[in-house]
């Protein structure tokens, strides 16, 4: 079986085996193995090109949620998706979009999309291009390195500080969240939770515009 692993962090095929990108059943000739690999790569590319339903400027590949694509038998495509957040309702829309594109563009007869949790998705899995597109779209991208590699912290971010809470001096932030509109580093947290589970609501104190911030996990 030929598989395409679509993220650098995960080299496991949907069947749980480890793959280095070569065929594992050994039954196919070199020529057809190359063909199969090309086929799976094109399936992975198609699935990865699907746009995130809630942030339709960024693809699933750029978001880093596509974990693996395989075609265990001709016409039967297996896709592994990982949610950004456990309860992310967009995962169902993603699965439907992947199925549609693979049926229409690649002639897949049966598309099976599985949700996997391990290893957990991290905001560090968003590609550079993905971060650029988020910022362009008005969503402050997550700060790099604050995700899976960092310890889980409580007291993740300062609240909005006002004169009425002088006993709570602002905790220093390691790296400021920049306003995606004017680039200012002077921004404040309005709410840890925003329009979707993966975002927090902030406001720029320079240009006064509110904006979404893709949270670090």
């Amino acid at each position: 079986m030929v598989t395409a692993s679509t993220t650098a962090r995960d080299s496991r095929a949907p069947d749980g085996s480890t793959t280095d990108g070569s065929t594992t059943d050994g039954s196919t000739s070199d020529g057809s193995a190359t063909q199969d690999a090309a086929r799976v790569a094109s399936l992975a590319e198609l699935a990865g090109s699907v746009l995130d339903p809630e942030l339709p400027v960024i693809t699933l590949a750029e978001l880093g949620v596509l974990r693996g694509v395989a075609e265990p038998e001709p016409g039967h495509v297996l896709v592994e998706l990982t949610p950004t957040y456990t309860g992310c309702p967009a995962i169902e829309a993603m699965a439907a979009d992947i199925e549609r594109v693979l049926r229409q563009e690649a002639g897949a007869e049966q598309v099976e999309v599985r949700t996997v949790f391990s290893p957990p998705w991290s905001s560090d899995d968003i590609s550079e291009e993905g971060r650029r597109k988020l910022a362009e779209h008005g969503v402050a991208p997550p700060r790099a390195g604050a995700g899976a590699a960092a310890p889980v912290l409580v007291g993740l971010s300062p609240t909005r500080h006002t004169a009425s809470s002088p006993q709570q001096p602002p905790a220093p932030e390691p790296e400021p969240v920049r306003c995606p509109h004017c680039g200012s580093a002077e921004t404040e947290l309005l709410s840890r939770f925003s329009s979707t589970a993966c975002k927090a609501l902030r406001r720029c104190t320079t240009c006064r515009e509110p904006f979404d911030h893709f949270k670090e996990v």
Partner: protein
């Protein structure tokens, strides 16, 4: 999941905690004091619902589909702790319940992360829940006389449900004593900063509450289940 993964029924109490608290938080939709809080509580509810679904899906071979597990079990079959089924009360009451539960769930999931992929996934989300509850407890406890009074009242009322959290769940290899100590230290630290007093009432023993893990629940739980389950039970097999 590795070979040392918990046996399947061991994750049922975790799923039930998540589902029932998710339902309670969902009751705030349309009633929260400000829009941002409405969104925050709904977001936390959504995270918890996602946890419950994933944990129930893992139990499909033993207990049936996630819908069957959520909507067709009787009260005595639920293994959630009694804390999460307590009614929302006022906003302070909900926040204190959130503080008590998230200060328990986040370090519990951290301990389960090596053997339970869902816990490894959700532990970072629960850190946000805990942060949210702590920040609100500080503001309410150290706020006005009114907000302080309401928050202390909530602490006093809910305290007796907190001992149950550290009853060992069979099949989960966790040092419950150590977890309880971490919880106490975390809660006391927030209380100190918020100007709240640790109640003197019992958390364990004859006068405490807590038999949810054995399927015994408090009176409000029946009404919660009736509301949560009636649609599914009234229209079996219905789809959108």
């Amino acid at each position: 999941m590795t070979s040392t993964a918990p046996p399947t029924p061991a994750t049922l109490p975790l799923g039930d905690d998540a589902l029932i608290l998710s339902h309670r938080l969902g009751e705030w939709a349309g009633h929260a004091p400000v829009l941002e809080e409405e969104v925050a509580l709904a977001n936390i509810a959504l995270d918890l619902l996602g946890q419950a679904r994933a944990l129930y899906t893992g139990l499909a071979d033993v207990l049936g589909s996630e819908d069957e597990i959520a909507f067709l079990r009787e009260e005595r079959a639920f293994r959630n702790c009694q804390l999460v089924e307590q009614p929302n009360g006022d906003f302070a009451h909900t926040i204190v319940r959130q503080l008590f539960f998230s200060t328990y769930q986040q370090p519990l999931y951290a301990r389960l992360s090596p053997v339970l992929p869902l816990a490894a996934k959700a532990v970072r989300e629960t850190a946000y829940h805990r942060d949210h509850a702590e920040q609100w407890t500080l503001r309410l406890g150290d706020g006005t006389e009114e907000s302080h009074g309401r928050t202390q009242r909530a602490v006093d009322t809910l305290w007796r449900y907190t001992g149950e959290l550290f009853q060992p769940i069979e099949g989960l290899e966790v040092d419950w004593q150590e977890l309880a100590e971490e919880w106490s230290a975390g809660v006391r630290d927030v209380f100190d900063r918020a100007g709240l007093t640790v109640p003197e009432g019992p958390r364990e023993g004859a006068w405490s509450a807590g038999a949810g893990r054995q399927g015994l629940h408090t009176e409000p739980f029946g009404r919660l289940l009736a509301e949560m389950q009636h649609l599914h039970r009234s229209h079996p097999g219905a789809t959108w």
